[in-house]
Symmetry: C2
Subunit: 202 residues, 2 copies
């Protein structure tokens, strides 16, 4: 019922297949639940109930709660992929792999989606809260738990300053040479700093 | 004439002293000129002419073009003071002094003015352009010229990533523990990274 209403409201060009209605209803419900309760507080069961669909649809469409969260934030990056890339190799070069992953995702559309996300974060409390969860738990929380020796929350937040700052300067403020330089230059300059936040002495 | 019109428009509670009219007219004119021409392209003469006042009033009210630029951006910090603090002491501890200066200014109103500035930068191209000038030339451009051995523009932009990122995480995204921890903890964690951007090997 809810799914049908939202589906027909979202697309007026014609009737959408039932599967996409389910997906859209889950995204709408997820945005509300994550905003109201935060990442930990929002349950798959409550989101599915709000969307009027079976909880199994969350796994089916998004691979789980993390994937649903990221899809709801419209971030073109999978946290599983980031965590996987970081853990797949020398921990002392994990910062380099994180930076290359983010840069390749962000640059796909010239940084447009990322600039829109940063705008949203800066102007909407709910987007800021979701970014808080994304940095603190979904992405850096996990990466840090896997590689860092101590002070996990501080390290995750510090990683957030470097990544959010790079996003602001490269895509929003667009200050040269960082706005248009190649990935290797960015990685060479920033990876040692990000690596210190992950595994160095603070 | 322009000054009088803008002055009376800005304050309806009563007649303002002539000096404040001049100051307000210069701020209005500066925002237009800096936005249209950038920091280097905008001249004191053109700003004064647009404001309908004598160019000497820029020095009188703002101490020069830099001070006018910062006042026009409503940033509660003097670039002269930052540059002075950075140069006044061991260059290898300049990052620590920069961080303490920013934190003390930002924290005076709980970060409200800074959060508003970041919102403005994220949503308005003219604010983003002014921030570009502020990071690239007015503040870090000078600091970097004074202490860095090479790659001045890259170093200024890298400093910008760390400072803008700290501003976003502490005051906009408000991720703990960085959102509410004391200055010493922030400085101990971040100063070595900022110092590398200023004087380290990139």
């Amino acid at each position: 019922m809810v799914a049908d209403e939202r589906g027909s409201r979202a697309r007026s060009r014609g009737r959408r297949p039932a599967g996409e209605n389910t997906r859209a209803a889950l995204l709408d419900a997820a945005r509300i639940e994550f905003t109201e309760r935060g990442f930990d507080g929002a349950t798959v069961r409550a989101i599915a109930q709000r969307a009027g669909v079976d909880p199994a649809m969350v796994n089916h469409w998004f691979g789980g709660k993390d994937g649903l969260f990221v899809a709801a934030m419209e971030i073109p990056v999978s946290p599983e992929e980031i965590v996987h890339r970081v853990l797949d190799g020398d921990p002392e070069r994990s910062a380099e792999r994180i930076l290359r992953t983010f840069l390749s995702v962000w640059d796909t559309d010239g940084g447009g989606a990322l600039a829109a996300l940063m705008r949203s974060v800066a102007t909407h409390e709910e987007a800021a809260r979701m970014m808080r969860e994304l940095i603190g738990r979904v992405i850096f929380g996990r990466v840090v738990s896997a590689v860092a020796p101590d002070q996990l929350e501080l390290r995750a937040a510090l990683c957030g300053t470097q990544i959010a700052g790079l996003a602001m300067v490269r895509y929003v403020i667009r200050l040269e040479p960082l706005a248009s330089t190649d990935h290797n230059t960015v990685v060479t300059a920033i990876a040692p700093n990000l690596q210190r936040y992950l595994t160095g002495i603070l």
